[in-house]
């Protein structure tokens, strides 16, 4: 379990009840909390207080949440986790494409929040480029391109492997359809989302123990996919 104490989290949300609730739950786990009511205030606090992570509510009234992300991304790599509402898929995707790293749909559980925060925090200290990925029964070696599930080697097509690798290199974090297609095949393939779905489907059939119940590759409805890291 990572030591979360000392990590500074900036919460940008116009709803006082949500700020209060987040403050209470996160402080209990040792995070230091900075609060901001508006996008402008938030950006100022990033410059002044230098937090390690930002939790931003996408539904900010005056300055649009997306604008805030764009502004932050002009000069900072800081991990951004957005809070959104269901049925706002377009906005979520826009936010993720604008540079947000992950999202949570309100109402959410604190457990899920912390799990996603931890994933984002791992990027604070850029490590040596990972050689592989390991979680639960799934093992991937990026160099040898060998994939093992429960110690059984699985044979994947090159596309399937690359897809898995992309998800694994961003494990725990959501990847939008657009982002995956861009990394896998390039921008010109943006119209061919069916290719992505077919490959995900084939990949799942090969590595998921409980198909169609997902264990590793989770579908984020309307947004993209996420490779789940087991606790």
């Amino acid at each position: 379990m990572t030591n979360d104490s000392g990590i500074r989290v900036l919460i940008i949300d116009d709803e006082i009840a949500i700020r209060r609730f987040l403050r209470t739950s996160l402080q209990a786990s040792g995070y230091m909390i900075i609060e901001a009511h508006t996008g402008e205030e938030g950006i100022a606090e990033i410059i002044n207080k230098r937090p390690d992570l930002v939790i931003l509510d996408i539904g900010l009234p005056v300055i649009d949440g997306i604008e805030v992300i764009k502004k932050i991304r002009e000069w900072s790599d800081i991990p951004i986790l957005i809070l959104s509402v269901m049925d706002q898929e377009k906005k979520k995707i826009e936010a993720l494409d604008a540079g947000a790293d992950d999202y949570l749909t309100k109402p959410f559980s604190v457990g899920e929040l912390m799990a996603r925060m931890r994933v984002l925090m791992r990027r604070i200290n850029p490590q040596v480029i990972e050689q592989g990925f390991e979680s639960s029964d799934l093992r991937i070696d990026f160099n040898t391109r060998i994939v093992m599930v429960k110690n059984l080697e699985i044979s994947l097509t090159p596309t399937e492997f690359d897809l898995l690798r992309i998800l694994a290199q961003n494990a725990g974090k959501v990847m939008t359809h657009k982002q995956i297609i861009s990394l896998l095949w390039g921008e010109s393939y943006q119209g061919e989302s069916h290719l992505l779905r077919v490959n995900i489907s084939n990949l799942r059939k090969k590595i998921e123990p409980n198909f169609p119940r997902p264990t590793y590759i989770i579908t984020e409805p309307g947004v993209g996919y996420r490779l789940k890291i087991s606790d």
């Binding site: 489907s201 169609p212 119940r213 409805p221």
Partner: protein, 487 residues
Amino acid sequence: MTIIGLAVRRNINPTNLVMLYLLAVVIIAVFWGRGPAVFSAVLGVLCFDVFLVPPYLTFAVEDTEYIITFISLFLIGVLISSLMAQLKEQMLAARDREERVSLLYELSKKLAIAYSLTDVINSIQKSIRQIAPYDSQLFLLNDSIGHMGESKKEDFAIYPGLDGNDSKIIDDVVTVCNSGKPSEIIIEPTLGLPVIYFPLASNLGNIGAISFFVNHSHQEINPDMRKTFEAFANLSALAIERVNLSNQANKVQLIKAKEEMQSILLNSVSHDFRTPLVTITGALSSLNSPSENLNHDDKQSMIKQALREAEKLNRLVSNLLNINRLESDILNIQKDPVDVEDLIGSTIDHMEDYIDRSINVTVSEKSLYVLGDFVFLQQALINVIDNAVKYSPDCSPLEMKIYNNKNFVIIEVKDYGGGIPEEEIPNIFRKFYRGEKSRNGAGTGLGLTIVKGIIDAHNGTVKVISSKEERWTIIQISLPCYLIPEI
């Protein structure tokens, strides 16, 4: 006539011949009119005198009584021919009138059944062409509702359209409309033919005018025509007014119905929001109370229950939003390829935390895809499963089957909750409908309505199949297959 007279003069008394002459004059009057009849009366008298009255072949007469006969013959001839001619004219006029009245009657009939403003306008235009020789025009105020006070040029729409250089015509129309009186006969420079304008009057002011072409250049139109035009204009105005009023009434009715629906919704919603809140508030207050003496398991159970009820509330909010979107027709469906197995897996994964039942899923061998919105389809499925859970006992199994039938992907959710009587089946998708045996509480009766709305928007169908004897119900969703292009 004289020839016949000559032939029979020996045999018939001249006085009777006079009758025959008169008959001839009458006949001529009937067929050829006043002029020829008078002429034949004169001629008849002369001939009678010359040929049939002694002394023959002269104009002189022996017996002066014949002069009376002549004069009478002549006068009667003229009188009868006049009368006959007048009669004929009146008959023609009457026929004319009858024709116009019947046209008005036809128009009246057409207008009575005209449904929309467009229908009314079309009927008026068709009838105008029958009443006035060339195309006459209907001019209507843009909102065709009419206002007191002055109307301006820009306020008018014209049926059928005139082109821009007809500002004089519009000026004339505006004048007539504002004055409320018919115009004089005007020769419009752009048309070259005389027209007369009649205003269309309604309760709320003048709503327009009709121009009738006049096929002569007299200064006055004859009173019959005037009456006809007036009647025509009045009929038209009445019809337009009626259509407008009826539209307004409809709008009011719609608003009323909407408000009523919203009222029902509000009542339903407040009840369904409060119910889960009871559990949530109850659990939290209980955990909060210093005097609580629940053991750990009880506490866990309460917390879990409260979490479930909170999720129910969340789903309720979603359903409400969706019903609103469905009604306002702003369901924005993304059309992307959706992997049906992915959809099912994701849905069940989501639901298993919140329902205590396991679902037995059977999928088809090959991958099935549909074109649609993952999020909305998921919401529809959640509602279907939620429904199945609500209307079946906790221990009964839930089954889900996915397969394809020709060009359709079929998703079936089966519960063993006793089945639905056949009469109830058509009602299931109706708004606010709730089955009698709602076991597990909260639900506004909107769930399946939303399912139908979402599936309809995806060009699919939802069906309910049920067996009361075997006590099961299947909700069957059918969606068109999306064929993945060859990779």
